[in-house]
């Protein structure tokens, strides 16, 4: 689904069809189904942000769940204090963006995968603060009873309106990311991924762009968190541990890092697979992680990569630039 692969109008049609499906799918369904769909959208947003960091800027962040926590707790505390969700949202996003800058600045000064280690340690720290600072975060008991937002006469108290609200936010977030990726700015990200040395020699300040990609990606994590609070109306530190950061990271990789629609697929797999593999009971994570390793051995570019491979086999097209195929891989 990259620029060269599908004809533009076909792609537009596909997107409209998918959007229509997303609108029609939950009609007449049970609340639980709508809840699963909503959490799929929320994790897609978190994964989209991480995709910017991992797929476009080539840095590993192991703190996406922590940024979700920052967004979720900010929203929870402010809406509990009587502020509207729309007021708490920019506060949470700004917080995540700034924390992203502060964490990323030292980590990206040096070469190597230092951001991975810094964010790994940060995840531990956030978990500790959430658990220990009971006066603010409620400790292990967490926070509960957060109201869902109302927009005039449109109340999101019921599951279906909340789903549409989340869908709207997801579409806006996707459009925002699309604009970023397509802007000259985003092209710099792309140049960075394809060939960092050449990008640097052409005057792209790689360090600054990587830092910005990470900070924006973190803000997307905050946005996802701001939606988790009104969805579940109960948050506690355990929902934002390292396991969840890893889960989001694997979503990006499974979907296809560096592909715009990768996170949608990856999040769907991670949300739906436990339902499909329910008969295996506790062994679900074992099977899943083994499958991920097998996938990385054979198709490191993820499920979208499998799709591309199959299509190239049955419907070969003229190769414009063989070296562009490299970009599909993780850097």
């Amino acid at each position: 689904m990259r620029g060269l692969s599908l004809h533009r109008s076909w792609r537009l049609l596909l997107i409209v069809a998918l959007l229509a499906a997303a609108i029609l799918l939950p009609l007449g369904q049970k609340n639980y189904f709508i809840y699963v769909l909503t959490s799929w959208l929320i994790f897609t947003i978190a994964a989209m942000g991480l995709n910017l960091t991992l797929g476009y800027a080539g840095q590993i962040s192991l703190a996406q769940a922590s940024f979700m926590a920052l967004g979720a707790y900010t929203t929870a505390l402010m809406t509990l204090a009587g502020w509207h969700w729309l007021v708490s949202l920019p506060v949470g996003l700004t917080l995540c963006f700034v924390v992203g800058l502060v964490l990323g600045y030292p980590a990206l000064r040096v070469k190597g995968h230092f951001l991975a280690f810094v964010t790994l340690a940060f995840n531990t720290l956030v978990f500790l603060v959430l658990r220990n600072e009971e006066w603010l975060t409620g400790g292990t008991y967490g926070l509960s009873g957060m109201p869902r937002p109302e927009f005039g006469s449109f109340s999101t108290d019921k599951q279906l309106p909340f789903y549409y609200f989340t869908l709207g936010v997801t579409v806006l977030a996707a459009l925002g990311l699309w604009a970023i990726v397509r802007s000259p700015w985003g092209r710099a990200f792309k140049a960075l991924r394809e060939n960092p040395i050449r990008a640097e020699s052409l005057g792209v300040d790689t360090r600054r762009f990587t830092l910005l990609a990470f900070a924006i990606g973190s803000a997307y994590g905050g946005l996802a968190g701001a939606l988790v609070t009104p969805l579940v109306q109960f948050i506690e530190p355990g929902s934002f541990g390292l396991a969840h950061s890893l889960r989001i990271l694997l979503m990006v990789v499974v979907g296809g890092a560096g592909y715009f629609f990768g996170p949608f697929i990856g999040a769907a797999v991670v949300i739906l697979l436990p339902e499909v593999l329910r008969f295996t009971e506790g062994y679900y994570l074992i099977i899943y992680s083994a499958l991920v390793i097998v996938m990385l051995v054979f198709v490191p570019s993820g499920l979208i990569g499998i799709f591309g491979k199959l299509r190239a086999r049955f419907w070969p097209r003229r190769q414009v630039r063989a070296d562009m195929a490299e970009g599909a891989r993780l850097p």
């Binding site: 030292p106 040096v110 340690a121 490191p300």
Partner: protein, 292 residues
């Protein structure tokens, strides 16, 4: 004063075990560009192999230790290299890092599902009786852990510097291309590195599990501490990881005793950021090969 000495010594003892893990991590990083995010799980798992030997196969404790060591070397060394590192490394460093993260989840969940979610008691290698040393009550176990770990580090250093194989391994880590031209069997040397890493992780596991009990989630903190120890020390050499491991062990104990027990787990983050800002090549590392 005696309390300080006690805290210092038990910090050194745990730190020396951290150092073993950090050294293995460094060796593999150097020799095969593999940042092993499952390193913590590599330390968690061998204890379970020993428990399997004792409780499922009915072996005696010391035979089980040997069994655990051999199984670890085969699975975490040979199989890890052949089945995961070799096929994935050509896809790029980040892909491999993510594969090791998936492997970490796999090992952790396997230990949980196949052995149990509760912490399992693990027999101590040495009696934990306190002995009196300069007025401080020190446990014999701490002293022996420190002694054994340091002994292994010395042996490993001698092996790497004094034997032909060791020097070939160093050459491989520094410049595989040139090493190959000079007739070094690079593939074999890389394999040795993985085997040594697995053995070090197993040893660390046997020394530290009597204190922590065998639990599937042990790897999380151990891994983080090993990474930070390797980075703080400077990962050009073994002594970097050694210094880093000892430092973190001592600082961790001092923080827990004198500053805050609630936030002792925040120490690695603080140390990591401080070292990146002040001395990114690590405390004893040389800046060469680590462009800022």
């Amino acid at each position: 004063m005696s309390q300080f000495l006690q805290v210092l010594l038990s910090g050194l003892a745990t730190g020396a075990v951290y150092a073993l893990v950090a050294i293995g991590f460094t060796l593999v990083w150097q020799a095969a560009q593999t940042v092993n995010f499952a390193q913590g799980e590599f330390v968690m798992v061998p204890a379970f192999f020993v428990l399997i030997g004792m409780h499922w196969l009915g072996l005696s404790f010391w035979i089980s230790l040997l069994f655990g060591l051999v199984v670890s070397i085969v699975l975490l060394g040979l199989v890890f290299k052949k089945l995961i590192v070799e096929p994935i490394l050509p896809h790029g460093g980040i892909t491999l890092i993510i594969a090791t993260m998936a492997l970490g989840i796999l090992l952790k969940e396997s230990a949980k599902e196949f052995y149990g979610a509760e912490a399992q008691p693990f027999p101590a290698l040495f009696p934990g009786d306190p002995i009196n040393l300069f007025g401080a009550a020190v446990s014999l176990r701490d002293l022996l852990n420190l002694g054994i770990s340091l002994g292994v580090v010395v042996l490993l250093t001698l092996f790497l510097n004094r034997t032909r194989t060791g020097r070939c391994m160093q050459a491989t880590a520094q410049n595989p291309g040139v090493a190959e031209i000079l007739g070094v069997d690079v593939k074999r040397m890389v394999l040795y590195t993985f085997l040594i890493n697995a053995a070090l992780a197993a040893l660390a596991s046997f020394l530290i599990t009597p204190v922590y009990l065998a639990k599937f989630s042990n790897g999380e903190t151990l891994g983080l501490i090993a990474f930070i120890a390797a980075i703080v020390g400077g990962f050009n050499q073994i002594r970097g990881a050694l210094v880093g491991g000892l430092l973190i062990g001592v600082l961790d104990n001092l923080t827990a005793t004198y500053v805050t027990a609630q936030y002792r787990a925040a120490l690695p983050l603080v140390l990591l950021i401080a070292i990146i800002l002040v001395r990114p090549q690590g405390l004893v590392g040389t800046s060469e090969g680590r462009a800022v």
